[in-house]
């Protein structure tokens, strides 16, 4: 673990992104989007069909998460990362089409690492299971696409100091290897 505390705001600056190193603890503030298995499948189907995207994810941060229902007066229920490997099939296509940053947990395939290097992206790991704590870092949540998917719908979250760790940096260094 590097000793520095790094705070980042969205949209993430591409020069700062290049300076991030595997193992850095980073606190993200700003706008991120949730999307997991079903939303990834739908986004790729839209790309294949040449259809417009339901939201602009160019340069965006996507969080692999399906939250719990929000209690009254709260923006969101418990929310934490799901296993990223299930998104490996879709991620390179989304990265080619503008996605740059991913937050999840666990191992990624080689194709994803290649796309991260090619497009100056980063894969961040959030702490699996720390979902009550992470919900407190979410200021607002709004469904922006695929409402019919329930917990798997795409949500635009505004977050403050979301704690994540650089798992694969823009050079392709992988904390899990």
């Amino acid at each position: 673990m590097n000793e520095k505390r790094i705070e980042l705001s969205t949209p993430l600056d591409s020069e700062i992104v290049k300076s991030l190193k595997t193992g850095d603890m980073v606190y993200i503030s700003g706008t991120i989007y949730t999307a997991r298995d079903a939303a990834h499948k739908k986004l790729c189907e839209l790309i294949d069909a040449g259809e417009p995207m339901p939201f602009d994810f160019r340069g965006a941060v996507v969080f692999y998460a399906g939250p719990c229902p929000a209690k009254p007066g709260r923006p969101i229920g418990s929310v934490g990362p799901t296993t990223s490997g299930r998104m490996d099939l879709y991620s390179p296509k989304l990265i080619e089409n503008g996605l740059r940053f991913m937050i999840g947990k666990g191992l990624r395939g080689e194709e994803v690492t290649k796309a991260i290097i090619e497009y100056n992206g980063v894969y961040f790991a959030a702490i699996g299971g720390a979902a009550a704590l992470m919900a407190r870092r979410v200021i607002s949540s709004e469904i922006v696409a695929f409402e019919e998917l329930g917990t798997e719908a795409v949500r635009r979250l505004v977050v403050k100091d979301m704690p994540v760790i650089v798992a694969i940096d823009s050079k392709g260094n992988d904390i899990y290897k």
């Binding site: 399906g66 719990c68 229902p69 209690k71 699996g128 979902a131 704590l133 407190r136 329930g150 704690p163």
Partner: protein, 280 residues
């Protein structure tokens, strides 16, 4: 014969669904704290601290520990001198799950069919395991299982000639392949013996044992200690980001088996390995 009303079963299951999902058991929480003191990786210590803090927030707010509030696994032990009035026991259990997941703001993660995959929107049906025991008490354990860890579990029908070494190799291989995915530090539940399905159920049951309590069979207790040490020297660590706290415990349950077989099941539990129990 003692009578238990099915509406009391529903009420108990509803309460246990919420409790299991929001409150980490004291033994696991204590173990996370102890491991934090011993962990040599600074990032590992920070992650263990975050998990303890998360557990405290969840219990205080009665919010789910994890967004994956799981498929609801229910273990029922039913005294044979007991009669249930007011309806079928499994309907009563599923009604409790339905109410608990609604009232507790828990995520509904169950699909109607593994291939058609339409969300049932109330987290039913539960997976229920029944055991008939002497006496007149109905005991229920609710153990919601998230699939980050469930997907990393494995079963193997070994040959008897592969013996204890084969068992060790398979358990360690399973943990290694799981790597960071099941939200370590994990609990490794192992079922050895019986038939295919018996070993699988035992491996899930093993997750419910109080963490740090060894098997009452000396040869299994020794194997648990040896495997825990081996797992914790793999370097996977908290959240899979390195360190020596990969597992909080290895729990093994065995059962007699066939002369030609050596079934082994490994069920991986996450850092919270959620469960709550109660009796009627």
């Amino acid at each position: 014969m003692r009578i238990v009303n099915s509406s009391d079963i529903t009420e108990l299951v509803e309460k246990l669904c919420i409790e299991a999902n929001c409150v980490i058991t004291e033994d696991i929480k204590g173990c996370l704290g102890d491991c934090m003191k011993r962990e040599s990786s600074p990032l590992g210590r920070e992650i263990l601290g975050t998990l303890v803090e998360n557990a405290e927030i969840a219990a205080e707010e009665m919010s789910p520990i994890c967004q994956d509030t799981g498929m609801t696994v229910v273990f029922v032990t039913m005294g044979q001198d007991l009669k249930i009035d007011g309806g079928f026991i499994e309907d009563a259990i599923n009604e409790g799950v339905r109410r608990g997941y609604e009232r507790g703001y828990l995520r509904k993660s169950v699909v109607n069919d593994p291939l058609e995959r339409i969300n049932t929107k109330d987290n039913t049906p539960a997976v229920v395991h029944y055991e008939i025991v002497p006496g007149d008490v109905l005991h229920i354990t609710v153990a919601p299982k998230g699939f980050g860890s469930e997907n990393m579990s494995q079963l193997k029908m070994l040959k008897p000639s592969q013996g204890i070494q084969g068992v060790k190799d398979f358990i360690l291989k399973t943990v290694k392949e799981a790597g960071p995915n099941p939200c370590p530090p994990i609990i490794v539940g192992v079922g050895i013996g019986g038939t295919m399905e018996k070993s699988a159920i035992l491996s899930k049951k093993a997750l419910l044992r109080q963490v740090g309590t060894p098997s009452d069979k000396p040869h299994l207790a020794a194997l648990e200690a040896e495997l825990l040490e081996a797992v914790n020297s793999m370097g996977i660590g908290p959240a899979g980001l390195g360190g020596e706290t990969t597992a909080l415990g290895v729990h093994i349950i065995s059962y007699p088996t066939h002369i030609a077989g050596l079934p082994v099941s490994v069920n991986i539990g996450c850092h919270a390995t959620r469960h709550a129990e109660g009796s009627l």
